[in-house]
Symmetry: C2
Subunit: 371 residues, 2 copies
């Protein structure tokens, strides 16, 4: 692991070096059978809202590999980006929007989905605008800055009759899917303890991820959510209590948001989980489930590629996939087949409820009961 400050993109891609051409498209991962609509070649048209690093380096390239999703439009507040993307991806002028004229999407049958890739604090506003225009919404994680905002997003999409999903790409990653399978089928018996942590040393001190209003929080909101997700998808349960503490060593860089947090949770079945997240140290990128008859987990677990799995019986080995492509193809199929996504808005809301419990525990110095 590089020990310098890194950009988020550099960090998350670091472990994908050397994965070579093993990238395979989704659809090979044991998804439900593709619908007749999908079989007949129908695709779902995506517009990306927010053309930052994630859209530029991950999502747009992923949309070149998807089978059911297509990059059809963009929404950006930066005209220069619009020009660049228009040329690079051959996007017609009529499919290019800014945040002020998004309501006009209602008149554009060429856009089916808005993928909200703007800063966390703007997810709600852009989701509401997209839903009002009758477009399905895929929101990046964390879903919003608060559970209240998540609820508003769910309500708005319900009211508009559009689908809502959250960009939880790990839930489409084959090594994680295998860990979920082993958990559900109790291949190693009942899980007793889970350890999960995700941290990296964040680079540019001026980025929006370090601003409270835009990010809603620090390491916990950005990468801690992955570790929380892991505990939830491994157990298939919601935590009943959480306690957390935080530490800060760089008060300038992390003036507005959390630097490092640890938290612990218990689940209805008796599983206990202990977790960490940090914006100020590299190397923690893993989860392990310790069960009656052995253990299993991933390290690295949450990177864009280069995922490695290990169990007490041996390695977990699958092809690396483009997780964004898998996530978007799944949402496209949900739309084509008119079914709810497994990473629905409710799934995003559940994470935010725990995140709020974590912050509440830090603030109050108390263990928080979760409903």
């Amino acid at each position: 692991m590089n020990t310098e400050n890194v950009t988020r993109r550099e960090f998350l891609q670091k472990t994908s070096a050397g994965m070579g051409a093993a990238m395979v498209a989704a659809g090979t991962m044991g998804f439900p059978a593709i619908s007749r609509a999908a079989d007949s070649g129908k695709t779902v048209n995506f517009a990306l809202a927010g053309l930052g690093g994630l859209s530029t380096n991950q999502i747009a390239p992923a949309l070149q590999k998807t089978k059911h999703a297509k990059l059809a439009g963009i929404i950006t507040g930066t005209p220069a980006k619009a020009e660049k993307w228009k040329a690079q991806y051959n996007i017609p002028d009529k499919n290019i929007y800014n945040y002020d004229n998004m309501s006009a999407l209602a008149d554009n049958p060429d856009i089916d989905v808005v993928y909200v890739v703007t800063p966390n604090g703007l997810h709600k506003e852009h989701t509401l605008k997209a839903a009002k225009a009758g477009k399905h919404v895929l929101s990046e994680k964390p879903m919003a800055n608060s559970s209240k905002d998540c609820e508003a997003m769910i309500k708005a999409c319900d009211k508009a009759g559009v689908k809502l999903a959250v960009g939880y790409r790990c839930q489409f990653e084959p090594h994680s899917l295998e860990c979920i399978r082993m958990s559900r089928e109790k291949e190693f018996g009942d899980i007793k303890i889970i350890e999960a942590g995700f941290g990296f040393r964040i680079g540019d001190p001026n980025q929006w991820r370090l601003k409270a209003t835009l990010a809603g929080g620090g390491a916990l909101m950005d990468v801690g959510v992955y570790a929380l997700q892991a505990c939830r998808f491994l157990t298939g349960e919601e935590p009943v209590q959480v306690s957390a503490i935080e530490t800060k060593t760089d008060f300038k860089k992390f003036a507005e948001v959390d630097e490092s947090i640890t938290w612990q949770m218990t689940f209805p079945s008796g599983v206990i989980a202990y977790c960490s997240t940090s914006y100020n140290v590299n190397g923690i990128n893993r989860y392990t489930a310790y069960a009656d008859k052995g253990w299993y987990g991933l390290d690295p677990a949450y990177s864009y590629g280069g995922i490695k799995g290990e169990t007490s019986k041996g390695p977990i080995s699958f092809d690396q996939i483009d997780q964004f492509a898998a996530e978007m193809d799944d949402f496209a199929q949900c739309i084509l087949q008119d079914r709810q996504s497994k990473v629905s808005g409710e799934e995003g809301l559940r994470d935010l409820l725990v995140v709020e419990g974590i912050y509440k525990s830090i603030k109050s110095g108390k263990t928080i009961k979760l409903s």
Copy 2:
């Protein structure tokens, strides 16, 4: 890792299989120069109090390898054990005691040290008796059931003018010593996060370790203390706050003591640690320090042998040693050189203060400030 219930001995030895003849005695590990007394061949005579599995399988064999410590006597409540040990180790009748006649040790110049290997809840009583008889005391960990008892033990030994140490063998283990060195010399910069956990699935449901009065607690007291020790010796600091939660899934076996606990602590320098312990799952036996410029740690970390170390730059590799032999040789040298042990009674007391904070946090549902 075997997945069946195991005895404590089987468990701790499991990872030592295959370590071959690499066992080396202490004194090769960079200890302070041996004193003139030691150089001149003086040895310190140990009496073992409590002839259970630990004494039988680890400590007595270790005393065959020590350079400065010698097995000279025994204290046992079981006459049959006395007969067996007398024959096996050629122990003279005059050096054989029971718990009722320990005061007669005062008249026996052939015994220098009493190594208290009785159940945790009896450490105080046996330490006080040994000190009163003018003998130095090495107490197994955890030092006692409470900080109050630790304080009484320290006071009694001070009053009697004898030395007191705790059987923290990991502080003499070369891989751990290397991690401590890397921490002190900041080889990877400042530590930011530590993860540490130690658990195993305990066997015989009738053993003293599952009885509250004798054990003082469950997994936390027995093996969690190792993970706590690791956080303390890696940072070289005392935690300033701790929060903990527990879970229980086997209410019969763990009717009296804790089954699984997780806890988290912050330290004055800003380090945050998250830890786990369990009597109901195998496989967690590790610590990792994540620092500015990389990470380092051990897995397994706390076994009697087979210790493995890894850093972000490569493996940590030393010969496996008999940790009990190293621990006893060091205490013998402390006596010969009239110096305080680095694993003194105060060190044991500090752990118990944190352990009490952990139990208090669980009971109160609050983060506990530690002095």
